[in-house]
């Protein structure tokens, strides 16, 4: 059935293309017949004109149809030549023009293929009489940086004749009248008018054009002129986004782009930021935008399966990902920010429609630098950075004497924690042993040490005061070097660069090295064919941490009484064997831990190499028709390797004993799952992709006044991406014994303390996925007088993705938009001359989103290993149940925006308002257990996203010496879930994943804190202890008794950047702000098992807030910190209707409720200063001494200098979103980095 449909579609498309192919030659033939007249001199071409009372424009129109020449009519000429009467058949063009213009006061000039009709300059004849001899003038053209601008065009403004083009040294020699005026123009620079004034040497410095940014919108498929762009787009220059000390472009973009919210949840070098363009509009699908570099989508080096993280990520890496320590890179991590020319953000449906279904989350288009015609420039840039290390300041943690005092007090009050052998047998098994004050106290009361020894020991502990941040962190040095070379002639241009970057985190053990090279070459074979070849390659190596090796967590939560070299034990492990008489014999080992040892004997590295080759050929078929073909081949090879060797605690846990403790050759050693060697997990992924794209672009301007302009584009694209890889896990890894793997899997260890399951010891999974796309896209733009523009974009994709609707039908995505350039209206222009630009844009688009992994058919999956050795069966398992009623998710987007620029472009404002209605979002809902599965997928929910993006650029001061500019952008987004098919429970409500009608997707709820109990100091809650209403607490709808805490993601995000220049000195700063959201405070100390609140374990540090805890009745009046008891009160599910909040789904504690209470919710709004930079550019005069040096800039830069946030956060980073208060794992903080940069041009 499906293949039938597919065939039908292919055929329909085939037919369409055939028709197109048939029409093409006809179209071309029609044009070609005119082109035959071209070899004759322009004036001699023969034309036929028969008109009565025609206007000049009409005659020109007739002439245009017959000769392939360009006619330019000088302003006012049309008014002079009216009522033209001509009757000439097959006459030479010059004759026709002569006759037509005779006596009108007009003349014509033929310059190659251009005929200019203008008023006769009355002065000119006089000048001709004087006959001043021309002089030889040498003109040198450069920019403000002193770079010679080869290729600049010089026109003689006195008679509008083209004088010439500067050579590669930016020079040209002209023969001119001494009184001539020259007009010098070059793309990207402001055109200048310079009088010759009898000078023989002219040096002209061009200023960069202010309007250049808005001029061309690069969508990756088209380069649209500003008046053709109807969608919501933002374009920035790569150079402006460059922050010294930040090696990645995605992180550097934070706070810079209206409507694009970038969250950097942790400071780990090599981890990816979270990018959201205008909120989220899917519940289960991928929410990241796509990155496009030079027209090619950058795929991630590892396949993405958002919904089913378990499929690709093993438990270890998942743990490090949740701890924010992931170092899996994304597609653009390897791109050198210095190679980026500009970045365009496509935000609304109209702008993204050409990317089809994959673009539902926005598109970010990066263009790399290309060479420019002119002399060869060599540029060198280096950044040297130093990153601070964190300290205990503002961490509110106890020092060792405070900690000893807490332990003393606890023991004195009988709230002792787990003194071995005293508090029940399980504590022997699980409790920390002989650590800190508690350990010493135990030795003392068990009479193993004297009173004197005890006192000395306590004094020693108090003095230890280990600075864990000092032990585990460093002042980290990072380097960045880029050398680039660019230049070119009329025929060919090139840009090439190589870069090296080494970024180190202040946490010892986390760093990243990157090497990259880029080459862009462009040839103009003739004036019809342009050929571009680009090559990009990079190698990226990142070192991160193994699971449970989290320096931040360790430094924050470890008792400072411990010394850095101390090996200590918090758990013991028993290895059992059975003797011949059937009796049990157990070997008990206290497993020893030391952080530095653990870090040294574990490893987590990612190694990626990426190569991309792309080429495109642009052929001008006729004046109006352009053909472009593009091919790209790109591949990555990534390896992720995680291991722990036999010296590590991680392996000791599996082994069941410390290294060397199990007697060699003993039964105990045989009973251990991993007696020798460590654990190695390795994942290798090869990604291979190619893209082939062909498009035809038809551009035609029609009408007597050239008022109708039409742009038609259609294309076809094939894209293929293959991931092939293998993930393996092995026991018995010996990294220090020749990198050998040696383990006997045939031995069974039935009584081992660790799992003996085969899958826990060994796996070897292959990945082999192939994704193919065939897409057709087209765009139609019509513009009237460049004032009114309408645009229609559409795209259809088909793919080979399995079990989807994808190939049942091509998936159409379309958008329509309109634009009105108000300023172009004559009535407007004359009245308000202080307005430089004013337009209004509006668009509507329709997108269908496909959620991977859910489809209408039952999808079965092969089970690995291939067969069960027990019964010899090969298995198929149900991957997804059939959901025949499931539909595609649909999103409709409306956008209306305006761009206003006033006061000589001193103030420019862009405003966009959007409304997105997403319908039929797929979500999971709970179903009765009897159906054999816990959840099903339904198209139940709708969601709206409303918001606006504003960006304002103001240049308050602009003089010769001073320039001050401020850029401000903000975006407001609010979303609401409509009628979700979702059953909430306590867990989803409190952790912010519940969907509740009328509330935002990221809303979360809290228990109502009602003070501390007068008698016990335990936290009380509304309805439970105060205003008791136990029936209400049994209500299955928990929103009835919880309080709504707000949304967990910022509603308003934005940034400010400002720069102040005085002559050559520039001071710039950028800020990121995130406003209107709430988050939970981190717990005041780590919870005990499943969230219990009790005396902190001897190896753990505690918050200084505990000093102010409830200690005696009456304290509740001035403290909200509960009293500590040996055991927390267990609130079983008997109080509430469900126990889902508990990690074991059955029991939980008052402390859990306390952490999830409204008391612990604070406003997360903050303003973070991303960087402050001071730059000095040397003047050309200063540089003349150094031969060859054309430009030199030095800069000092500070990133993350400060953050302004609520004092209630007590130093907690508000950007690390945590609504799950009980399982908070601290992530590496983003530390302040100071960088020095040097940029030299030769």
């Amino acid at each position: 059935m499906r293949t039938q449909l597919l065939k039908g579609n292919c055929h329909a498309l085939l037919k369409q293309l055939l028709i197109l192919a048939l029409c093409l030659p006809m179209l071309l033939w029609g044009q070609g017949s005119i082109a035959q007249t071209q070899p004759q001199p322009p004036g001699a071409q023969r034309v036929t004109v028969k008109v009565e009372k025609a206007s000049l424009d009409e005659v020109m129109q007739i002439l245009r149809r017959q000769v392939k020449l360009q006619f330019i009519i000088d302003a006012g000429a049309s008014e002079i030549a009216k009522d033209i009467r001509l009757n000439m058949t097959d006459a030479p063009l010059s004759g026709v023009l002569d006759k037509m213009l005779a006596g009108t006061g007009l003349e014509y000039v033929i310059n190659k293929n251009v005929i200019i009709i203008r008023k006769i300059n009355t002065v000119k004849p006089q000048a001709a009489i004087v006959k001043i001899p021309p002089i030889q003038v040498t003109v040198t053209i450069k920019n403000e940086d002193g770079i010679l601008l080869g290729g600049a065009t010089v026109t003689d403004a006195t008679d509008n004749t083209k004088a010439g083009v500067a050579n590669s040294k930016g020079q040209l020699l002209l023969s001119l009248q001494p009184s001539a005026r020259l007009r010098i123009s070059f793309i990207g620079y402001e055109t200048q008018l310079v009088p010759v004034d009898n000078r023989k040497q002219l040096t002209i410095v061009l200023k960069p054009s202010q309007k250049a940014e808005g001029e061309v919108v690069i969508t990756g498929y088209q380069n649209l002129r500003s008046w053709e762009s109807v969608g919501s787009t933002v374009k920035v220059k790569g150079e402006d986004m460059r922050i010294a000390g930040v090696p990645r472009i995605d992180i550097a973009l934070q706070g810079q782009i209206p409507g694009v919210s970038i969250t950097i949840p942790n400071g780990t070098v090599g981890s990816n930021p979270k990018v959201r363009v205008r909120g989220t509009s899917t519940l289960l699908g991928n929410r990241e935008p796509i990155w496009v570099v030079d027209g090619i989508i950058r795929e991630d080096p590892f396949p993405f399966k958002d919904q089913n993280l378990d499929n690709i990520v093993n438990a270890t890496d998942k743990a490090s990902m949740t701890a924010g320590l992931s170092i899996m890179s994304n597609g653009i991590a390897g791109l050198n920010p210095d190679d980026i020319e500009d970045i365009t953000f496509l935000k609304d449906a109209s702008a993204t429609a050409l990317y089809g279904v994959s673009a539902a989350n926005g598109v970010i288009v990066i263009t790399t630098k290309r060479g420019k015609v002119g002399r060869t420039n060599i540029n060198f840039r280096t950044d040297q950075s130093i990153t601070e290390k964190p300290s205990y300041n503002h961490q509110n943690l106890m020092n060792s004497s405070q900690r000893v005092a807490l332990s003393e007090e606890m023991i004195a009050k009988g709230v002792n924690y787990a003194v071995p052998g005293q508090q029940g047998t399980f504590l022997v098994k699980n409790g920390p042993q002989n650590i800190g004050y508690e350990g010493l106290y135990y030795l003392y009361i068990s009479k193993q040490i004297t009173q004197q020894e005890f006192n000395d020991g306590v004094t020693r502990l108090e003095l230890n005061n280990t600075d864990w941040f000092n032990e585990l962190y460093r002042y980290a040095l990072s380097q960045n070097y880029t050398v680039s070379i660019s230049g070119g002639s009329d025929k060919a241009t090139f840009y090439g660069s190589i870069g090296y970057n080494n970024t180190a985190n202040s946490a010892i053990g986390n760093d990243q090295k990157r090497m990259n090279a880029l080459m862009n070459m462009e040839y103009r074979l003739n004036n019809r064919i342009r050929w571009h070849i680009g090559v990009q390659t990079d190698a990226l190596k990142t070192n991160g941490f193994y699971s449970d090796v989290n320096p931040e967590q360790y430094a924050l939560y470890t008792n400072r009484e411990l010394t850095p070299d101390q090996y200590y034990s918090t758990v013991n492990s028993t290895t059992n064997v059975y003797l011949a008489n059937g009796n049990l014999s157990g070997f008990v080992s206290n497993l020893k831990f030391n952080f530095r040892n653990e870090r040294a004997h574990t490893s987590n590295t990612t190694d990626g190499k990426q190569f991309m080759f792309n080429t495109d050929l642009q052929v001008t078929l006729t004046r109006d028709l352009n053909f472009q073909t593009m091919y790209s081949q790109n591949f990555d090879r990534s390896t992720q390797e995680r291991w722990a060797d036999e010296n590590s605690y991680f392996v000791a846990q599996i082994r069941g004993a410390n290294l060397g403790e199990l007697p060699k050759g003993s039964a105990f050693e045989q009973a251990s799952v991993l007696p020798r060697g460590g654990v190695l997990e390795r994942e290798e992924m090869n990604r291979d992709g190619y893209l082939f794209r062909n498009s035809l672009n038809y551009n035609k301007t029609l009408g007597g006044h050239q008022q109708h302009s039409l742009n038609l584009m259609g294309g076809f694209e094939m894209r293929s991406n293959t991931y092939k890889g293998v993930a393996t896990k092995n026991y018995g890894y010996f990294p220090d014994r020749g990198d050998v793997i040696d383990y006997d899997y045939t031995i069974v260890h039935p009584y081992s303390s660790s799992s003996d399951a085969f899958a826990d010891k060994y796996y070897n999974h292959r990945t082999n996925t192939l994704t193919n796309f065939v897409s057709y896209y087209s765009s139609l733009t019509y513009s009237y007088k460049r004032k009114y523009t309408i645009n229609l974009n559409g795209r259809s994709d088909a793919s080979n993705r399995f079990g989807q609707y994808t190939n049942a039908a091509f998936n159409p995505v379309w958008a329509i938009g309109a634009r009105w350039d108000v300023l172009a209206e004559k009535w407007f222009e004359h009245r308000l001359s202080w307005i430089n630009a004013f337009n209004i844009r509006s668009s509507f688009g329709f997108q269908g989103n496909i959620v991977d992994n859910v489809g209408p058919n039952l999808i079965a999956q092969y089970v690995s290993p291939v067969y069960n050795p027990m019964n010899g069966e090969s298995y198929l398992t149900i991957k997804t149940m059939p959901y025949p009623d499931l539909r595609k998710e649909k999103t409709r987007t409306w956008n209306i925006g305006t761009d206003v620029s006033v006061l000589n472009n001193r103030v420019s404002i862009t405003f966009d308002y959007y409304y997105k209605y997403s319908k039929d979002l797929i979500s999971q809902r709970t179903v009765p257990v009897e159906y054999g599965t816990a959840q099903m997928y339904v198209n139940g929910s709708d969601m709206t996203n409303t918001g606006y993006d504003i960006s304002v650029r103001v240049v308050p001061v602009k003089t010769r010496d001073w320039m001050w500019s401020v850029q401000f952008n903000t975006s407001f987004n609010t979303n609401n879930v409509v009628k979700p098919q979702y059953v909430t429970n306590l867990n989803t409500l409190t952790n912010g994943t519940a969907l509740v009608n009328g509330y935002p997707v990221d809303g979360f709820w809290s228990f109502r804190y009602a003070g501390l109990n007068h008698n016990t100091g335990r936290p009380m809650f509304k309805y439970m202890d105060v205003d008791t209403n136990l029936a209400l607490l049994k209500n299955p709808d928990a929103t009835q008794y919880l309080s709504y805490s707000g949304n967990a993601n910022p509603r308003i995000s934005g940034g400010i950047s400002t720069s102040l220049r005085y002559r050559n000195l520039m001071l710039a700063a950028s800020f990121n702000m995130e406003l209107k959201y709430r988050l939970r405070l981190n717990p005041i100390m780590l919870a005990g098992g499943y969230g219990a609140y009790q005396a902190p374990a001897p190896d753990k540090n505690a918050s200084v807030f505990l000093v102010n805890r409830w200690q005696r009745p009456g304290d509740e009046a001035h403290t909200d910190i509960p009293a500590i008891y040996a055991a927390d009160e267990n609130i079983t599910s008997s109080v509430f209707n469900d126990a889902s909040i508990s990690s074991i789904a059955s029991s939980w504690y008052r402390y859990t409720m306390y952490n999830y209470s409204d008391l612990r919710v604070v406003d997360g709004s903050h303003l973070r200063c991303n960087n402050i930079a001071l730059t000095y550019s040397f003047t050309r005069q200063q540089l003349t001494r150094i031969k060859g040096l054309a430009q030199l800039t030095i800069a000092a830069n500070v990133t993350n200098p400060f953050i302004i946030a609520s004092s209630k956060l007590h130093g907690q980073d508000p950007e690390v979103l945590s609504t799950d208060a009980s399982k908070t794992t601290p992530t590496l903080t983003r530390m302040r980095t100071v960088s020095f940069s040097l940029n030299a041009g030769f």
């Binding site: 192919a21 799992s755 065939v774 027990m870 010899g872 149900i878 499943y1090 789904a1145």
Partner: protein
Amino acid sequence: MSRNITFTFSLAALLLLTGCKKFLKETSQDEMTPTTTTSLNELLAKEGYPYVGSAYYASDGFSFCNYLHFMDDDLHLQNMVSYNDVTTYVKPFYAWSDNAYIEATLPPAGSPSGVSGATLSNPYQQLYNRIRGCNIVIEMLPQVSGPDDDKDQIQGEALVLRAYYYLMLVNLYGWPYNAPGHDRNSSPGVPIIVKGDISAANVARSTVAQVYDLITSDIEKAVSLLEEKRTISTVFRVNYRVAWLLASRIYLYMEQWDKVVAYTNKLIGDYPLLADLNLWKLPVPQSITLGSNNASFIDPSNAEMLFLFSGMRGGDWSYINLSYPQCIASTDLTSLYETNDMRFGTYNATNPPPNFFLNRQSGYYMNSKFYYSNGEASRCFRMAEAYANRAEAYIRTAIKGGDASLLQNALDDLNAIRVRRFVSGAPNATVTLASLNNDPQQVLQFCLTERRREFSFEEFRWFDLRRYGMPSIQHTFNPNEPYVTNATLPVETYTLPQGSNRYVMKIPQNALDANPALVQNP
């Protein structure tokens, strides 16, 4: 020139489009939509069959109800302080607590952090999950390609399994079929789901009679599908013999004795095999880390096995667990074994006869029908049950006024089992009617005792107690024995009154939460 380019482009487009179908052919390395009987067969093996071979499928290793024996009278719980967590898991069931399941999965009240509750199987959820697999396979069968014989076989297997799962469900969560005072036509059983679709609709509990109607119609249909071709593949697959045996068990529970006899006759006529323990060779353990090399009774090498299933991992404390000799055989049970009975003995590696059913470890008798070893099955359907079921049906028929000669037939069946369980030539291996005073009641008692001896810890006893009129039973727990010597805590005694509500399990909370139409058992 431009024409050439256009031509090239058109040609290229044409060529590419012809490749379109192939380029867009659905591909996936590891996914597929089952379209053949072979695929459905593999799907049934994973999604419809009980789990087996836990070494490779670690998370699937539980038996359906690993706490069933905590409640019957074959098990005795003793204290062992250093492993008091086991006591925590077992005791709520052992004491027939109203909320046993919840209590067992909770850490004990007031316990400090780090103590977890038990990981228990949730039979309600697991059985319905397996039923889903059977339903999907049955529903998809008509749409896939393959020989009709294969389709019949797959459908037959799926129906046998579904009948078994519903039999387990209705006996865990409903009153017995013939329970006095509980009319099967009104007493709630379990919800009936026989379709593969999922929906959010709530389903109410059908009556016990309705569930039995489904079970009998499934098994009858399965028998008719399977007994024609009589295909036997492996011991890990159900087949016509398993269908007959299960049918006899179902009718035994329903007390339709003639049907029990009919199906067991078919089975014993077809496959009269019973394993003789005298001929059974147990390999001597090779290493002092016991377990891995011992052959056990429930094993694929035992020809008496008709169907093996359920891997063994944690939580099933009734089997011989060397680390935790807490769940031991009750003296009630051990006292039933006679001399020369090889099912019961002292472990002796070098001097056979070994013991097969109850093994002595560290001074206590524990279930040793299977050993802890990752990869083995712990549950089975085996031939002895056919003899036991037929014997009981004969006796019950005779008591009801049937042919008295059936009593001798019954003894023949029981003796057939016994001679293969006793040391060969043992005089007490066979029993005669005379030794039972020709009293039908005594014969019945002997039959039920033999059944208890033979099927200890094979998930029979609890269901048998329910059939026998839900008698009152008693459990004792001495906190002082055997490892706590200095304590003098009172001995705890628990009584399950006759016909107690606790003969019916409570429906798990997660099922009640997700389906408001369910009514909890009293």
